[in-house]
């Protein structure tokens, strides 16, 4: 039996302590990914299999490089949020959960940064 009032309970913004922040960011990134996916997918898929020069030419173009960087940043942001929920849902041991959440965040930052660096290298090398 808890003695907290309903107000006191909601005042801490729930069990996760962050209210709707995570929920909102998932929506924000998913909305952004709709146009980004359409802009990124077709030029990328067309260049795939066309050889090295085709890839360098594609991302040597500022417009495609911009789309690719935005796509990479928002994708790994969205992926980090989504995988976080999966880990929170299924990994119950506190140690394993915390470790996986750290790995999830670090890995997604690393992959996103690597992708941005790769596109930047191609753009400035072209």
């Amino acid at each position: 039996m808890g003695y907290k009032t309903d107000y006191a309970r909601v005042h801490g913004l729930g069990a996760a302590g962050e209210g709707v922040t995570h929920w909102w960011r998932q929506r924000l990134s998913s909305i952004a990914l709709i146009p980004l996916t359409l802009l990124f997918l077709f030029p990328f898929a067309s260049a795939l299999g066309e050889g090295h020069e085709a890839v360098l030419a594609l991302y040597g173009d500022m417009r495609h490089a911009l789309v690719a960087v935005l796509m990479i940043v928002v994708t790994f942001w969205h992926l980090a949020q989504g995988l976080q929920v999966v880990i929170e849902d299924y990994v119950h041991s506190k140690v394993a959960r915390t470790a996986l959440l750290l790995v999830n965040t670090f890995a997604n930052f690393a992959l996103g940064a690597a992708g941005v660096l790769a596109v930047a290298t191609i753009l400035f090398g072209a």
């Binding site: 039996m1 808890g2 003695y3 907290k4 009032t5 309903d6 309970r9 929506r27 998913s30 909305i31 990914l33 709709i34 996916t37 997918l41 077709f42 990328f44 898929a45 067309s46 795939l48 299999g49 050889g51 090295h52 890839v55 360098l56 991302y59 690719a68 990479i72 994708t75 790994f76 992926l79 989504g82 995988l83 999966v86 992959l111 690597a114 992708g115 660096l117 790769a118 596109v119 290298t121 191609i122 090398g125």
Partner: protein, 127 residues
């Protein structure tokens, strides 16, 4: 008090005794495609880094992605991407407060499932 009903709340359905429905299967697939797309994303990043490093590194990454196994993963990722995108839009419509009637929910589920296959085939034709 807020705690009166604690312990007497309804439990979520147990998977083993739960008859699969279009709505539940769509929901499970949304999560699975999201997890699976991690692999596609990692492969694309590997391919981009390789392209930025050298023609030799690119040949290795590109060789894997355009092998039958790589193409299998890429085509699977393409379907997963369309599925996750279309079903994500379905979720956003729910978030806006629409489409909760049971018949609408089942129709939108089938539309997303069919649409993801159609868009996958169309994408493969276009590119």
């Amino acid at each position: 008090m807020a705690d009166v009903n604690r312990g007497k709340r309804p439990l979520s359905p147990h998977l083993q005794v739960y008859r699969p429905q279009i709505t539940s299967v769509m929901s499970i697939l949304h999560r699975l495609t999201g997890i699976g797309l991690t692999l596609g994303a990692v492969l694309v990043i590997w391919w981009l880094i390789a392209a930025a490093i050298s023609p030799e590194a690119f040949a290795t990454a590109d060789g894997f992605l355009t092998s039958w196994f790589g193409l299998l993963i890429l085509v699977g990722s393409l379907w997963a991407l369309w599925y996750h995108a279309l079903n994500g839009i379905r979720h956003l419509v729910w978030d806006a407060g629409y489409g909760y009637e049971l018949d609408v929910m089942e129709k939108s589920g089938w539309a997303v499932a069919g649409g993801s296959v159609v868009l996958t085939v169309l994408t493969l034709i276009v590119v």
